[in-house]
Point group: C2
Chain length 224, copies 2
């Protein structure tokens, strides 16, 4: 499947590399291709150009070209910048497609821990769905760190839980297939796109558990 | 230990009965003792008087008398009414004591799912700590349904996780002992009282998982 991953940070790189490893055809979308090529990245000290050189099967495209390329589009941008990035991808390019939103609308302007930009009676996923009504938005994976998104077996025996929210059952089936390919087994469908408020508002707890434990390599298992 | 449980609903009854079973000396605190005696309760259809008759070792006291009685006080009131109830218990009666806050500040005025009355840059636990600065507030247990609070072995093998937030290490040690008595093994100390924002903001996810699964008998296990 042709998958466009929007965002060049740790989340975008990690998901792009994993999806390519799973033999999908992957392009990473960025605002300015030449700027991204020349940018040194603080995330782990690996520049995007070096990362891309190590992944010759992945292409780097501008937002609009990535939008045209992808049959499925993954929003792996900073949540505070997601709407602007997706406008760059283009409503026409996103129309009818499955958009998997893994971002968190975090506000780091007051330091750590960040607060949520949208909460309780709204969510980033809903904002995206309202902004792109012809796109089929699915919220998932925002409740774990990038490495765990791509390889759930990094925590415990790989049987921890991931959540799914969206209005379109067929889009959720596409997302579920990709999640299973990456190794997810306990996938909890919460319901329509408004249920994304739950996983997004979980972030303040996730951040404090991370701080208390000193590692982001954890996840919750919903035990019945 | 003398424990005052403030609140006569399902949470208060369940915790009071469990703590009495564990051989603590337990009083339930209510605003108006005679009104509570005569009230029919919609929770499970058992009136408080019938419940109390079935638990002869538990006494019913007004808020202030319960506050004087308890060496440890448990806030098991509706979160929207907690501050008013604790004012009734009395700052003098609460001074120096451990107050275990298990309530959630939920707003049901717009129907289900409820929204949070306090969030993100505040929490009910912090509001209580600010309102009663001489009291040592510990937030815990608000992330599970009443039956699971009292008997964590009702879900899975009993090894799921519970969170602890508070400024006073000795108060958290008292709460930890009570949690262990009730059967909790995985107790995660998140840090100071501001970390209660995490477990309180988890409620929107808890509510949606409950709706998706059709049961409140679940809990998360934090898997490293």
């Amino acid at each position: 499947m042709k998958i466009a991953v929007i965002g060049t940070g740790v989340v975008g790189r990690t998901l792009a590399a994993r999806l390519a490893e799973l033999e999908h055809s992957v392009a990473v979308g960025t605002r300015d291709v030449s700027a991204t090529h020349s940018r040194m990245d603080s995330d782990g000290g690996v520049s995007f150009a070096d990362w891309l050189a190590a992944h010759p099967d992945i292409s780097l495209l501008d937002f609009a070209a990535a939008g045209r390329f992808g049959e499925v589009v993954v929003n792996a941008t900073n949540g505070a910048a997601s709407m602007q990035a997706l406008i760059g991808v283009g409503a026409d390019n996103l129309a009818g497609k499955v958009l998997i939103d893994v971002a968190n609308p975090l506000d780091f302007s007051q330091g750590f821990p960040p607060t949520l930009l949208l909460k309780d009676n709204d969510s980033l996923a809903e904002e995206i769905q309202r902004g792109f009504p012809e796109t089929r938005v699915v919220k998932t994976l925002n409740t774990v760190t990038a490495d765990v998104m791509a390889r759930p077996d990094l925590v415990g025996d790989g049987g921890t839980s991931v959540f799914l929210s969206g209005d379109d059952p067929a889009a959720k089936a596409v997302a579920t297939d990709l999640l299973r390919d990456m190794g997810w087994r306990d996938i909890i469908d919460l319901g329509d796109i408004t249920t994304a408020r739950g996983p997004e508002m979980y972030l303040p707890l996730w951040l404090r558990v991370m701080a208390a434990q000193g590692t982001a390599l954890f996840n919750v298992h919903v035990v019945r």
